[in-house]
């Protein structure tokens, strides 16, 4: 594959970067990423990956843009209120970079469709806001042998972890099961600073870029936590669990499972 003069200009800051270069850019162009959730995390991740020239991006979300989203979900604008988030996100991504392919999927990811959804993508970004979805994405990616970026944000804190098949722990090695619904504050109940979603979602985009380009090290085997109030990042080394029910030696989970999500009081 070769780039046009316009593409060379568009991606010049990648191409002149030693250790990335034309080779890295070609890999991005040939690569594909599925972003689950066009919300706080998905917004910056989707925009950066589109701008970076990732050749094919899928973005899945079943919701419509709500006024309370706009404080952090920067891929949507005030003019998008009421529109499906997947469509609004797609339009913003193509406005940044019309040279890529974006598939907008207006659906909820569940046990019935997740394997099919992730099948055609190289890397998955978990930009969801609830535990059942996080376990669903984890299990599906482990079962399908797909690399993915987990992230979660709440109030002033964020965390993320990258899973690559055969390397390090999966999300279920860290947390065996979702917490009971009543123990979980959702984003709607707990609040979150918009820029926190920007920081963590951008880190997820960075993981996807490195994975696709084959550059640098990934956040595998280590949970990164970010405390925005203290402006402090911490990496916690975590081992893979041999008895993990999904990625362990004798897995008991052999197909994706649906858990009941916590009720959203503020809906």
């Amino acid at each position: 594959m070769s780039f046009s003069g316009e593409q060379l200009a568009r991606y010049s800051r990648h191409i002149i970067l030693k250790g990335f270069g034309l080779r890295g850019q070609k890999r991005l162009s040939r690569g594909s990423v599925l972003i689950v959730g066009a919300g706080g995390l998905g917004s910056p991740a989707a925009l950066y990956l589109a701008a970076a020239g990732v050749g094919r991006i899928g973005i899945i979300d079943a919701d419509e843009v709500d006024l309370s989203n706009l404080q952090r979900q920067i891929i949507h604008g005030t003019a998008d209120l009421g529109k499906p988030k997947a469509d609004s996100a797609r339009a913003s991504m193509l406005a940044v970079n019309p040279e890529i392919e974006v598939r907008a999927i207006r659906a909820f990811a569940d046990a019935g469709n997740i394997m099919e959804l992730i099948r055609d993508y190289d890397f998955i970004i978990d930009g969801t806001d609830n535990f059942p979805a996080k376990f669903l994405i984890n299990d599906a990616c482990v079962l399908a042998g797909k690399a993915f970026s987990h992230a979660g944000i709440l109030r002033f804190n964020g965390q993320l972890l990258t899973y690559v098949p055969g390397e390090g722990p999966c999300y279920r090695c860290l947390f065996k099961n979702p917490p009971p619904p009543e123990a979980v504050p959702t984003c709607r109940q707990a609040g979150v600073i918009g820029a926190l979603a920007g920081v963590v979602g951008s880190l997820q985009a960075m993981e996807a870029v490195k994975y696709l380009a084959g550059t640098g090290g990934l956040l595998t085997g280590r949970l990164l936590t970010y405390d925005a109030l203290k402006t402090s990042f911490r990496g916690i080394d975590l081992p893979r669990r041999a008895d993990c029910p999904v990625c362990g030696e004798h897995p008991s989970i052999t197909a994706p499972v649906d858990y009941t999500p916590a009720a959203c009081d503020f809906r």
């Binding site: 780039f3 003069g5 010049s12 030693k18 034309l22």
Partner: protein
């Protein structure tokens, strides 16, 4: 011992980057080299000044072999580079 600088290198391809500014000069040179096989020679026509100073150094830094920079006397230079894989 013949002087290597005087050896008549024959370019396998020619590219002109006089219509762009740095760092696009370098980007276009890299893209043109990418189309060649290892060991082949690219002739790059570039403007005097910043481009003529930066592009040879940047390509050398990428691991390619800079063979010759000739002043064309019309505000442009011709740079000969041999593609090396690294």
């Amino acid at each position: 011992m013949p002087d290597a600088r005087m050896e008549p290198f024959r370019p396998d391809a020619v590219t002109d980057v006089t219509d762009v500014l740095c760092p696009l000069t370098f980007v276009r040179a890299v893209a043109a080299l990418d189309e060649l096989e290892e060991g082949q020679i690219l002739e790059i026509r570039l403007n005097d000044g910043e481009a003529a100073r930066n592009v040879p150094l940047s390509l050398k830094d990428e691991g390619h072999q800079v063979l010759r920079l000739t002043d064309n006397g019309d505000g442009t230079c011709s740079l000969l580079v041999r593609k090396l894989e690294n």
